[in-house]
């Protein structure tokens, strides 16, 4: 009853809500058509590749498809003692199919990753199968066990069983320097081989400090930009943006020229007597180089959001602060600074997220101690061709960024970010 009373009708007797929807439908379609190309572009170039990356990072279907009968029989195996005749038979028939398709090599490689020594024993088995040395009328288990003593070792059969699930998180564990142990539990790799954790921490550290340096340098510049008279601020703005118009590679290369041991900066230090000629400090191929080059390259991303926020702060606010009795510092700290927080938030988030995934600069000037996780991802993409591991690490990076964004949102509030 009450809803009937509330419902407002137009003069034609159609409910107002229906009429409104009808009237706005055209606009909605128009708006959707306008964003449709971008939406499509995003789906094709962003959502789809990320989905693909995710499935690749956990995909372990290859071996599942290679040994279908084996895994079916293994379901009844307790995994403690050597498997039964049926499992051996199933494995033999699976293997025979692979030999016909000439895919046994792939199986050996994949199993070898799970447990060392598989490569040679699959090759041995392959020769036996090829020469049709295995008599299918008597116990296949006995004959397979005779091929190599490792086929008699239960650990190798356990390794095969571990590869049964079509999906695995092993790549993610590897990214955190962990792996599935023989009994299926998560184990840490030896301390001297934990390289990924160092890289993650270093990436965070460098991103943090680059953000800090950018903030410390960008804040005064942005303030100057926002307060100088137009003709000077335009010039300064060009100076800030000039690096933007230069190729990233050129900029990084010029830093290499500046920072190398026989470079311009070192020459200058020697000239003014700051360092001796035979003791030139190394400023490249280490963290220093990465810090310097990345800070310079990412500085505009800090300056621009800060500038756009500072531009909106009326100069009369600072004057009001001073006329009310605040010293210039108090007026700055209590009035000006809090109003720039949205810009600081936007700038820091932008720089941090860009820095955490930075690739080309650390690759060129970073050396061994200045490379980041992105360089490791690239290494696996190009050198080891372990794409699923690269995908896993890429997704871990993406998750990390999202987590940071979430924390940031809790602390500062995304509504307080102002990009322009």
């Amino acid at each position: 009853m009450s809803s009937e009373i509330k419902q407002i009708l137009t003069t034609d007797g159609i409910p107002l809500e229906v009429s409104l929807k009808k009237a706005e439908k055209k606009n909605k379609i128009k708006a959707f058509l306008l964003v449709a190309p971008l939406l499509l572009f995003l789906i094709i170039t962003y959502v789809f590749p990320i989905g693909e990356m995710f499935s690749r990072s956990i995909d372990d279907k290859m071996i599942t498809n290679m040994l279908p009968k084996t895994f079916k029989e293994m379901e009844n195996w307790d995994g403690k003692e050597l498997p039964s005749e049926e499992v051996f038979t199933a494995f033999y028939y699976d293997f025979k199919v692979l030999v016909e398709k000439q895919e046994h090599g792939k199986l050996g490689q994949r199993l070898n990753k799970e447990k060392n020594g598989f490569n040679s024993i699959t090759k041995k088995l392959f020769r036996q199968v090829k020469r049709k040395k295995i008599d299918e009328s008597i116990s296949i288990k006995e004959q397979v066990m005779k091929v190599h003593k490792r086929w008699r070792n239960v650990e190798y059969w356990q390794a095969i069983k571990r590869t049964a699930p079509p999906y695995t998180l092993a790549k993610y564990l590897k990214g955190m320097d962990m792996y599935y142990g023989a009994d299926g539990s998560i184990t840490q790799v030896d301390e001297d081989r934990r390289i990924h954790r160092i890289l993650w921490l270093r990436t965070l550290e460098i991103a943090f400090f680059v953000t800090l340096f950018c903030f410390l340098m960008g804040y005064p510049i942005a303030h100057l930009l926002a307060t100088l008279p137009m003709k000077y601020s335009n010039l300064l703005m060009i100076c800030v943006l000039l690096p933007f118009w230069t190729s990233l590679l050129v900029r990084t290369a010029s830093w290499m020229i500046l920072l190398q041991q026989q470079g311009v900066v070192n020459d200058f230090f020697v000239m003014i007597g700051l360092v001796s000629d035979d003791n030139r400090p190394e400023m490249m191929y280490n963290k220093v180089g990465t810090y310097v080059a990345m800070t310079q390259i990412l500085l505009p991303f800090m300056v621009l959001p800060l500038y756009s926020v500072m531009k909106t702060i009326s100069p009369s606010l600072m004057r009001a602060g001073k006329s009310l009795g605040g010293t210039p510092f108090v007026a700055f700290w209590k009035v000006y600074f809090p109003l720039t927080i949205p810009g600081i938030g936007a700038g820091c988030l932008l720089v941090f997220i860009l820095a955490i995934g930075y690739y080309i600069t650390p690759a060129l000037v970073g050396g061994a101690s200045g490379t980041l996780i992105s360089n490791q991802i690239a290494f696996h993409m190009k050198q080891t061709l372990d794409w699923s591991f690269a995908s896993a690490m890429g997704l871990m990076l993406l998750t990390g960024v999202l987590v940071i964004y979430w924390i940031y949102n809790k602390l500062v509030g995304v509504d307080n970010i102002k990009l322009g």
């Binding site: 006329s323 605040g326 007026a331 109003l339």
Partner: protein, 361 residues
């Protein structure tokens, strides 16, 4: 109360921004304690610059500014103890009304209870009690304005400066705020220096008005005198409406002169003309010219009505008189209203004392 007639003193103050043009020229201005003085002038006349120099945001290029006998040119703004209301209020957008008002007290290290008391008092002065926790953006323009006034007064400054504080308000609100500020001034007796380009605002609120033009004070006097007895044609033109005749003095006595216009002669009150042959602009307020005057007036002419505009409380009549078609008359709306028709001839008269012969335009 022994009020200091030279509480604020501008002593031969010059100001130039670029070393070529003087924005303020040889300013000599005394402001008495407790006075409400308005600096009135068109934009670019130097009035805001004067205010900024007094507040300490600009330094005089030459000359001194004295506050209560002390030279303040070298004192930074935050130590001058001068309250200021800015053009766009300049309320701190990230602070509540309470925090805005408490700011000048907190930086002075006033104790918490004292702050509460003073903020409360200041808010009740502008009748905004209960708004303490609001943010400035949640207030209407008029409320923000009142908060700004309260904030400028809350720390009991000796002088309060107001830089076109009502410029952003609509007409009705502006008028009511004018009275409100005037009443606050009357009740607490603080010295107010007010800057505006709105002449009616200046006339309503001030004890004295300094009319600025071209970096100089053209006239400094109380509102009535300013309106009735402008000393030069700029002031006459700037304050209120004004009919002008340009001509040449052909005869001059002690309190009367004869001015020759293009095709007739009128009698006027010689203010800034001294001798025969001088060029002059004669200024006459529209309400001082009467239609069909019953008294004997020494200027009587006939003009043709060109336009009649109804304004509610009065009717404006534009006449073609003495060769100029820009002569304006204001006829008050009364029951004995005349029938005014376009293209009719009417008789106009005014006294020569009201027609002030000033410097030529």
């Amino acid at each position: 109360m022994g009020k200091n007639p030279e509480f604020v003193k501008f002593d031969k103050v010059d100001k130039s921004y670029d070393g070529k043009v003087l924005v303020v020229k040889d300013l000599q201005l005394d402001i008495a304690e407790g006075e409400f003085i308005t600096m009135l002038g068109p934009s670019g006349s130097g009035k805001t610059t004067c205010l900024m120099m007094l507040a300490g945001f600009e330094t005089p290029t030459n000359g001194e500014i004295l506050l209560d006998g002390n030279i303040i040119s070298n004192i930074p703004p935050h130590k001058r103890g001068i309250g200021m209301v800015f053009q766009n209020y300049a309320l701190f957008p990230h602070m509540t009304v309470y925090e805005n008002l408490a700011f000048p007290l907190r930086v002075r290290k006033v104790e918490k209870e004292e702050i509460d008391k003073k903020v409360d008092k200041a808010l009740s002065m502008v009748s905004l009690n209960g708004f303490e926790t609001r943010m400035p953006a949640q207030l209407s323009g008029g409320q923000q304005q009142r908060v700004a006034v309260a904030r400028a007064l809350v720390f009991d400054p000796a002088v309060v400066l107001m830089d076109e504080p009502l410029g952003a308000l609509d007409k009705n609100l502006r008028e009511s705020m004018q009275y409100e500020i005037k009443h606050i001034h009357e009740s607490i007796g603080v010295t107010v220096v007010y800057v505006t380009h709105d002449q009616s605002e200046a006339l309503t609120m001030s004890n004295r008005i300094a009319v600025f033009n071209d970096g100089k004070v053209q006239q400094l006097s109380n509102p009535a005198e300013l309106y009735e007895k402008p000393v030069n044609s700029f002031v006459a033109e700037f304050i209120g409406e004004n009919n002008t005749f340009n001509g040449e003095v052909i005869d001059i006595a002690k309190d009367k002169c004869k001015v020759k216009l293009s095709n007739s002669e009128i009698l006027a009150n010689p203010i800034s003309v001294k001798s025969k042959g001088e060029k002059t602009t004669v200024s006459l307020r529209p309400e001082r010219a009467l239609i069909n005057p019953t008294d004997k007036m020494d200027n009587m002419f006939t003009g043709k009505i060109e336009e009649v505009i109804y304004h509610g409380d009065h009717t404006r009549v534009r006449l073609n008189l003495l060769g100029s078609s820009e002569f304006i008359l204001k006829v008050p709306n009364s029951t004995s209203n005349l029938e005014l028709k376009v293209n009719e001839d009417i008789k106009i008269g005014w006294n020569s004392t009201d027609a002030r012969a000033l410097d030529p335009k």
